[in-house]
Each structure stands twice: as structure tokens, then as C-alpha cells.
């Protein structure tokens, strides 16, 4: 590539970079700075250096929150990825009322998470909820759903999958839509079976999009707040308390801004680490393909 070309491309990137940096620079500086203090809003602050971080290492509740977060995220990423990719493949086919069906399918993603969470909460109600009613119709005993510590996270994952599978579908579908037709026609000509076409042509082509969706889902799942807060508030007990819930607790229930800032930093490190892992997997798969 010529030097001039590169320079021009840099100019393409600059405005966005400036905008983002301008908006997040101060909050990040603030957060990093505050994480070195012990400060409860309304009281004077004291400098503690890395004290908050050290405290987090031995904070059992925080460690448990990390565990819950990872468990939730794992399920909430894989579920939508599988279902969403399947849906994208299905919706890539032509069939009558496809547009309508596709719109229906994307509805969950469009609704405000807070409202959806409230509706699901009622649906989960052990005595009054629709879900147990449906179970009873099929002869299954009622479940406590999110009101039980063991089932809380799986139920929350269910809501998350319900809501965000369309996201994956859209991203992958967009990718399918921009794929050239020739390889497929060639394969068809050569009599490739459906499975072969999928495995050797479709899949490699949509893999980058699956990865994009995976990264977006990963970040979102790690950060999930509204759904969990509204439905269980991190309960029962602390069964579904994720890092973000714990963060909210520290920041806006206890007003411990110093400690909360430290949590933000640690949380961020976790998010970056996992995202880099995904990036690396993507690189590796590309390398394998070529």
C-alpha cells in the first residue's frame, strides 16, 4: 500500500477516535483516580493507594460475583450464537412471509430490557405466573424459577437468550446477505451435498460475522444489568449477583465510590482479557483457513 493511501485512511479514523476519547477520557481518569481512594459520598476521602484492590482480592463476595458472571456469560454467549446462526441460515432462505417472520423474530431485541424483565418476572411467579401454568398443562410440577437460588442464573440466561438471539441473527444475516453467489453456484454444479456446502463454504464465510457477534455478545453479557437487577436484584441471597450488580451495590447503594471504581477497573481488565481471547481465536481461525 502506498504511503499516501495509508495517510488518507488515518484521516478516516481520526474523527471517531477523537470523539470517543473525548467522551471517555475524563470518566476513565476519574475512575482510575478514585480507585486509589477510600471515599464514601458525603464523607471526606482518604488516600489508600492500592488498598481497594487488595481488599477485592480477599473479598469473597466479589470472587463469587466473578464466578456468577463467568457462568452467566458463558451460557448467554453460546446460546444466542448457536440459535442466532441457525436462525440466520433459516432466514436466508426464501419463503413466503419471510419478512414478517423475521420481524417477529427480532421483536425481543427491540423491546426495552427493563419492561421485558418486569414481564418475565411476573411470568416466573411460582403461583401466579404463566410459565408454571403452562407446565401444569403438560403435567409437570411447578418450578420456583428465578425464586430459587439454584435456578436463578439459568432462568436469567433464558431471558437473555430470548432477548439477544435476534442480535446474532441480524449480524450473521447481514454477512450472509453480502456474500457472493459464485462459490455456491459452483458447489451446486458440482453436486455438493447440503452439509458439505455448509461446512466448507457457508461456515468459513460467515465465521467472521459469528466472531463479531460473539465479541458484541461477550461484552454485553458480561455487562448485563437491567435484566438481572429487575428480575432478581442479584438474589435470592447473592445467587445471581454478577460483577455489575456488585458494582451497582457499591456505587449506588453504599456510595462507596472508591471501592466501586476499583471494581470497575478489575471488571474492565476481565472484559478486555476475554475479548482479547476471542480476538486471538478469530485470528487463529483465519490463519487456519488460509
Amino acid at each position: 500500500m502506498l504511503h499516501a493511501k495509508r495517510q488518507a485512511l488515518y484521516w478516516f479514523i481520526t474523527p471517531a477516535l477523537i470523539a470517543i476519547t473525548a467522551i471517555i477520557a475524563f470518566p476513565w481518569a476519574f475512575t482510575l483516580w478514585m480507585s486509589l481512594f477510600d471515599w464514601k459520598i458525603g464523607s471526606p476521602s482518604t488516600f489508600t493507594g492500592l488498598g481497594n484492590y487488595v481488599a477485592l482480592l480477599t473479598d469473597r463476595r466479589f470472587i463469587e460475583a466473578i464466578g456468577h458472571t463467568l457462568f452467566f456469560t458463558l451460557l448467554a454467549v453460546i446460546g444466542p450464537l448457536l440459535l442466532g446462526t441457525l436462525a440466520a441460515l433459516v432466514f436466508n432462505q426464501k419463503f413466503p412471509l419471510r419478512g414478517f417472520a423475521r420481524s417477529l423474530f427480532t421483536l425481543p431485541m427491540m423491546a426495552t430490557p427493563v419492561a421485558i424483565a418486569l414481564v418475565w418476572t411476573m411470568m416466573f411467579h411460582p403461583q401466579q405466573g404463566v410459565l408454571n401454568y403452562l407446565l401444569s398443562l403438560v403435567g409437570i410440577a411447578p418450578s420456583e424459577w428465578v425464586y430459587s437460588p439454584g435456578l436463578a442464573i439459568p432462568c436469567l440466561v433464558m431471558v437473555d437468550i430470548w432477548q439477544w438471539t435476534p442480535l446474532v441473527m441480524l449480524i450473521v444475516l447481514g454477512g450472509l446477505a453480502s456474500m457472493p453467489a459464485d462459490p455456491f453456484e459452483a458447489a451446486y454444479m458440482e453436486g455438493a451435498s447440503r452439509w458439505q456446502t455448509f461446512r466448507y463454504i457457508t461456515l468459513p464465510m460467515i465465521r467472521p460475522f459469528i466472531m463479531i457477534a460473539a465479541v458484541v455478545r461477550l461484552i454485553d453479557a458480561l455487562k448485563t444489568f437491567d435484566t438481572i437487577y429487575v428480575i432478581t436484584q442479584g438474589g435470592p441471597g447473592t445467587a445471581s449477583e454478577t460483577i455489575n450488580l456488585y458494582l451497582y451495590l457499591q456505587a449506588f447503594s453504599f456510595y462507596q465510590v472508591g471501592k466501586a471504581s476499583a471494581v470497575v477497573v478489575v471488571f474492565f481488565v476481565i472484559v478486555v482479557a476475554l475479548s482479547l481471547m476471542l480476538f486471538w481465536m478469530r485470528e487463529r481461525s483465519k490463519w487456519n483457513d488460509s
Binding site: 470517543i20 467522551i23 470518566p27 426495552t112 427493563v114 419492561a115 411470568m123 453480502s178 463479531i212 461484552i219
Partner: protein, 272 residues
């Protein structure tokens, strides 16, 4: 014969995929059209004994719905448009330069929990004198829209085959021309998807609108909380509010989804 089985199989799969989504929304529709006694009944009542529009009316009465709607349109619209203007070129630049690390920088905005923005951004806006204005809300929403667009669109640009652009380059096109006339049209489905997603995320954002906005600049999701009265969660008005808040986004998506469909006819995947 095989074709018929195929069609049935496909129909079945579509049905299975669509029913969870559709059924919850049908349930919400049902909730919104029933009275409170019906809504609280168990066994659940699906078809209202007497359908009522009272819940929808309650939403308009209890919240300054139109004002919120206008604010949301302005905020999300502007945040998405600006993000497109800044993010799509950036995505192109990053894709062509293969500058992954810059993507990471932009994604930092998305990786940070929204809560951590509240206090510093509020302090910042207060210092500049922008508290409670629509400008401050739009700026805050950029944190939501810009990373999404930049990240997703750059992925689409990356998968575009380079030959067309190389050819254009040979023809003496400048970078901007290559971007504008070659890459951009090809990546339209991807850009559309990214724009829809950015708009939806911004539209449904609750935290910024509730805490950073002022009384005159509140956005729509706050309306949902407004119908929850203190002494009882009113399911009818809640479902009605949720549907009303979703409606504009739904309409927009229906209109724009044709863009994705456009790409499909060009691709023409057979028997996939």
C-alpha cells in the same frame, strides 16, 4: 417429494424459532388489553373477557409521553446519525489498515459499565454548564452508538473482497472515492444492521435518560417506570407502555430491513 418435505421442515423450524418471541409479545399484547383483575387472574386469562384501551390511555395520562417520544427520537436519531458519520469511515480505515488495536480502543467505551460514567460525566457536564440539556444526553449516547457501528461495520468491510477496490485504485480513484463509490454500497447490508442495532441500544437505554437528563429532556424508557405506581405494579399499563415504547423502533426496523433484503436478492443463495 423431497421439496415438499423440505418446505415442511423449513416451516417447522421457522415456527419453532419464531414462537418464543411471538408468544411473549402476544402475552404482552394480551396484558395491555385486559383489565387488572384479568391480568392478575390465575389460571391466566389469555383472551380478554372485555378488551379495554384504558391501559394505553393511562400511559398517555400518567406520563408526558409525547415529550419523551420527541426527546428519544432526537437523542437516538442524532446519536445514530453522528455515529454513522464518524464510525463508518473509521470502520473503513481500520479495516483497510488492519488496525485491530484501534478497534479495541473504541470498544473500551462499550466495555465500561454505564454506571461508572454517571458521576464523572455529570460532573463534567455541570462544569461546562450542559446539565440536563439534550446535548449532554446525545453526547452520552454516542458512547453507546459509536463503538457498535465502528466495530460491526469494520467487520463487514474486512470481508469485502479487495479486487474491486484495487481495480478502482488502478483507475486512479482517491481513497475517498473508493470508499464512497465502491466499498460503501457493497457494505450497505452491514451498515444497515449496525445502524439498526445502534439505534435500538440507544433508544432502550434507561440509565442515562433517568439520571443525567433533566425534567424536560427525559427519554422514553423512563415512561415505563412512570406507569409503575407505588402501591402496585400495574401490568396492563406496563405492557401497554412497553409496546408503545417499542413501536417506533419496530416501525423503523421494518422500513429499513428492506436494505438487508436487497442484498439477499443480489446474493441469491440456492439450497444453502
Amino acid at each position: 417429494m423431497k421439496k415438499l418435505l423440505d418446505r415442511i421442515g423449513l416451516a417447522f423450524v421457522v415456527f419453532v424459532l419464531v414462537s418464543p418471541a411471538a408468544s411473549v409479545f402476544l402475552w404482552m399484547l394480551s396484558l395491555s388489553l385486559k383489565t387488572e383483575t384479568d391480568n392478575l387472574a390465575y389460571p391466566p386469562v389469555f383472551i380478554p373477557s372485555s378488551a379495554t384501551l384504558a391501559n394505553f390511555r393511562a400511559v398517555f395520562e400518567q406520563t408526558p409521553f409525547l415529550s419523551y417520544l420527541l426527546n428519544s427520537i432526537v437523542v437516538s436519531g442524532l446519536a445514530t446519525l453522528i455515529a454513522l458519520a464518524l464510525g463508518v469511515p473509521a470502520a473503513y480505515g481500520i479495516a483497510r489498515l488492519k488496525a485491530r488495536k484501534l478497534l479495541l480502543v473504541i470498544l473500551i467505551a462499550r466495555m465500561t459499565p454505564a454506571i461508572s460514567f454517571l458521576i464523572p460525566l455529570f460532573t463534567l457536564f455541570q462544569a461546562i454548564g450542559l446539565t440536563g440539556t439534550l446535548t449532554s444526553v446525545v453526547i452520552t449516547h454516542m458512547v453507546i452508538t459509536l463503538p457498535v457501528i465502528a466495530y460491526i461495520v469494520s467487520g463487514y468491510f474486512e470481508t469485502l473482497p479487495g479486487e474491486l477496490e484495487e481495480a478502482a485504485f488502478m483507475d486512479g480513484c482517491s481513497t475517498w472515492q473508493r470508499f464512497r463509490h465502491v466499498a460503501l454500497p457493497l457494505a450497505r447490508p452491514g451498515i444497515t444492521v449496525a445502524a439498526i442495532l445502534a439505534f435500538i441500544f440507544s433508544w432502550n437505554n434507561f440509565v442515562f435518560g433517568a439520571v443525567l437528563a433533566g425534567r424536560a429532556t427525559r427519554t422514553l424508557p423512563v415512561a415505563i417506570y412512570n406507569v409503575l405506581t407505588f402501591e402496585q405494579i400495574a401490568w396492563g399499563p406496563l405492557a401497554a407502555a412497553a409496546l408503545l415504547v417499542t413501536a417506533p423502533v419496530l416501525l423503523l426496523t421494518l422500513v429499513i430491513q428492506k436494505e438487508i433484503a436487497g442484498g439477499l436478492t443480489a446474493g441469491g443463495v440456492k439450497g444453502g
